[in-house]
């Protein structure tokens, strides 16, 4: 099936003349837009995901599909793979099983699709409860725990610092200091009970 690009607004197929020609005006909805089309558009799924040739006698076959001829071996476990099972990622050829293992262990950042930002969690625990300040007696120690416990946890994939951890610890320490000062003041200068 021929590749096509459709207008985002009206979903009408854009004529080929509008591709890679700067801004166009959709003939259906008159919306102004751009369509960048790259050579990969000519490559259909069948080309990359074809099962390849059947394995003949004496030829190496795929570990997962014994009837298919192997074309490459997994760089992690060495199993022979057919084009269906060959997953190319960041220049490496892996089998689906190794890919799953890497993903579970979190050993390969290229497979990560989510990260928790513990610094932000700790900072939120330190700051938001200040709106109802007496919650801080509970949340300040928790914020310190989270900040220290996850100090070595990976930061954002695209960068980031440990400043949120640091600020969370500092703010929580100040809150604890405030509570200690309040407790000292309360017990030292507590008004004496009037004697009957």
């Amino acid at each position: 099936m021929a590749f096509s690009v459709s207008c985002i607004r009206c979903e009408a197929r854009l004529p080929r003349e509008t591709w890679n020609r700067g801004e166009f005006l959709c003939t259906t909805c008159h919306a102004r837009g751009t369509a960048l089309v790259f050579p990969a558009s000519a490559r259909d799924l069948g080309a990359s995901g074809s099962p390849g040739a059947a394995a003949e006698e004496g030829e190496a076959s795929c570990f997962f599909h014994p009837s298919n001829r192997a074309v490459i071996s997994c760089e992690a476990c060495g199993r022979f793979l057919c084009p269906i099972c060959d997953v190319e990622l960041a220049g490496r050829h892996l089998c689906p099983a190794c890919l799953e293992t890497f993903k579970k262990k979190g050993k390969w950042t290229n497979l990560e699709n989510r990260r928790t930002l513990y610094g932000h969690v700790a900072l939120a625990l330190a700051i938001y409860p200040m709106l109802v300040f007496y919650f801080t007696i509970l949340t300040a120690p928790i914020a310190i725990f989270v900040a220290i416990r996850y100090w070595r946890a990976p930061l954002s994939l695209v960068g980031g610092t440990r400043l949120p951890h640091l600020f969370a610890i500092l703010i929580s320490l100040l809150q604890i200091a405030g509570w200690i000062a309040f407790a000292l003041f309360f017990f030292r200068f507590r008004p004496a009970h009037p004697r009957g």
Partner: protein
């Protein structure tokens, strides 16, 4: 861990939703879409070799936002000007943020939506929400994708050959045209709204002279109301003049009118801030009038709208006579 960030380079554009902020990053072999969720980040990767198409389309959200912020700022400005109390500077608390939002919205440019297509999926790119930043980002993405796939897209797409890129010679390949605006079919506009806008500017100038002469609060309030009306007219005129046959000179004049109106509000706000500051820092018990006039500001308030209005009307007159001549020649043609 921070060394990891060197692999990624941030692209222009930032999408804000209730859930968080979305950004786009150029990686060594893939495009990384990061959806910030406050306490976590979700990642999506689009490998350069797999990207088939990226489409954008402009939306009219920015016009709605401009109208909303502009009218709200103008309404607050009107309240500020109509108030005679010394505490009228309180109007500036909502007024300044609204004016800033209005100007920032204009500065960021038209809004757009963007979609990326690979062999397996077509998904939106929520970080590309403004056309100028999307254009800059797409230029950089295109350079990376072309480096990976080559540039011979049309032949490949037409013939459907499975390996169009490997043999593609970059020097001989037809390069993709830069993202320039096309020549658009023009719509015929009556220019009545533009006429009203330019006449209102002349009326503004006359009203300023009257308010300077009589110094009555009625003229002052009428001037403030006219300012609000002019704001609305300018915004509607900017919206209407898109894709019409109105010449660029008149279009630019409408934009200049909007800039004048924004500047007027900003100057009034600044003058009142200064007056309020003098009241606070002045000798105790002495009240400094906030209604003190400034010769330069008064002259600006009279001359600028007069110039804009008259030049706009002259241009409109020329344009309509040219159009009439063109129409007559069209009908008289055998």
């Amino acid at each position: 861990m921070t060394g990891r960030s060197r692999e990624y380079h941030r692209l222009p554009g930032r999408g804000r939703t209730l859930a968080g902020i979305s950004t786009l990053w150029l990686g060594p072999d893939h495009l990384l879409a990061v959806d910030g969720r406050g306490y976590s980040e979700n990642y999506r990767r689009f490998y350069y070799r797999d990207i088939q198409a990226i489409a954008t389309v402009r939306t009219s959200r920015w016009i709605a936002m401009a109208a909303l912020f502009g009218l709200a700022a103008a309404a607050v400005g009107w309240g500020f000007l109509a108030s005679s109390s010394e505490l009228r500077w309180i109007w500036m608390i909502p007024g300044i943020p609204l004016l800033l939002l209005f100007l920032l919205n204009l500065l960021y440019g038209p809004t757009c939506v963007c979609r990326i297509t690979t062999a397996a999926q077509t998904v939106p790119l929520p970080s590309l929400t403004r056309a100028p930043s999307a254009r800059r980002a797409l230029e950089r993405i295109r350079a990376r994708v072309e480096a990976e796939q080559g540039t011979r897209v049309e032949e490949a797409a037409v013939t459907g050959s499975p390996e169009p890129v490997a043999e593609a010679a970059p020097a001989a390949a037809p390069t993709l045209s830069p993202l320039q605006p096309p020549s658009l079919p023009a719509r015929r506009d009556t220019t009545r709204l533009h006429g009203v806008l330019f006449w209102s500017l002349i009326a503004d100038s006359v009203l300023t002279v009257v308010s300077l002469a009589v110094k009555e609060s009625g003229a002052f309030i009428a001037g403030a109301a006219l300012l609000v009306i002019e704001f609305g007219l300018a915004i509607v005129a900017i919206v209407r003049q898109r894709r019409t046959d109105i010449p660029p000179g008149i279009r630019r004049l409408v934009w200049a009118t909007l800039a004048y109106l924004c500047l007027s509000v900003a100057l009034i706000v600044l003058a009142t801030w200064l007056a309020a500051f003098r009241t606070i820092t002045g000798p105790a018990g002495q009240s400094v009038s906030t209604g003190g006039r400034n010769v330069v500001l008064d002259a600006f308030g009279v001359v600028a709208p007069l110039l804009l209005g008259t030049s706009g009307l002259v241009l409109l007159h020329r344009f309509s006579s040219d159009r009439q001549e063109a129409d007559l020649s069209l009908f008289s043609r055998p």
